[in-house]
């Protein structure tokens, strides 16, 4: 557990989360959510919880992104004003 790497990863997670909830383009928000899940997986591995990190990488960054992209393909892409 290295504190500087933790701080850098947490900073990027916060930046990506703020960007994902402020974007109007839902497809970009979904891709940012995938990046968020990947950074969260890195944080879990950094905190020496490999199993949780693996689940986060497989489910959060893989399956959930595919599900949300499929959902966007059935609905609208742009958030209404």
């Amino acid at each position: 557990m290295i504190v500087s790497i933790d701080l850098i990863l947490l900073f990027f997670v916060v930046v990506i989360a703020i960007a994902a909830i402020t974007l109007r383009d839902l497809l970009s928000a979904v891709i940012l959510l995938g990046a968020y899940s990947f950074l969260m997986a890195l944080i879990w591995v950094e905190l020496q919880s490999v199993d949780v990190g693996f689940t986060e990488a497989a489910v959060g960054a893989g399956a959930t992104t595919a599900f949300l992209v499929a959902t966007i393909s059935r609905t609208v892409r742009w958030e209404k004003k």
Binding site: V50, D51, F54, T55, A58, V59, A63, F67, R74, R77
Partner: protein, 159 residues
């Protein structure tokens, strides 16, 4: 994402064709090594389902749906649940009614208690992996496919 079969991106199709067997192999590795390391039935099932999702995205939705139909989903998801519950009930049966559900060591696969436990754990993980794989693929098809056909899947995103 293209509507016709011969119209797909050749880079995407080639990368998918090369990567899908390795993703499936990695999913099986995660399932079978879940007892002694990171991973397990759930993660392995998700990784295995990701290979199907990659196949469906890279080539054609209707083609993937034809190769993994809904009845197969139902059969596979219940099969995994039956494996899990069957191993547990076998453990109850071989502990002679002492009500030790999923106590794998008493199931006589081999003559050693520890090998029985490892084998029972592996069978239960395989059951979990089958169910999770079928359900993830089923959720993806329910989200991505329309009711009748899969023709107009990706092109109506711009309102």
């Amino acid at each position: 994402m293209k509507e016709k079969q011969g119209e797909g991106n050749i880079i995407v199709e080639t990368v998918a064709r090369v990567m899908i067997p390795f993703i499936q192999l990695f999913g099986l590795y995660v399932i079978t090594h879940g007892a002694g390391g990171p991973g397990g039935g759930f993660q392995g099932g998700v990784v295995f389902a990701s290979a199907f999702i990659l196949y469906v995205i890279a080539f054609n939705l209707t083609d993937g749906g034809a190769r993994f139909p809904e009845s197969g989903n139902i059969i596979l998801s219940s099969l995994g649940l039956y494996i899990y519950a069957g191993i547990g009930l076998l453990a109850i049966f071989f502990t002679l009614g002492a009500a030790q559900y999923l106590n794998y060591g008493f199931i006589p696969f081999t003559s050693h208690f520890e090998e029985n436990r490892a084998l029972g754990m592996d069978f239960v993980e395989i059951g979990i992996g089958i169910t999770v794989m079928a359900i993830i693929v089923s959720i993806f098809f329910d989200l991505a496919l329309k009711d009748g056909d899969g023709k107009e899947e990706e092109e109506e995103g711009s309102r």
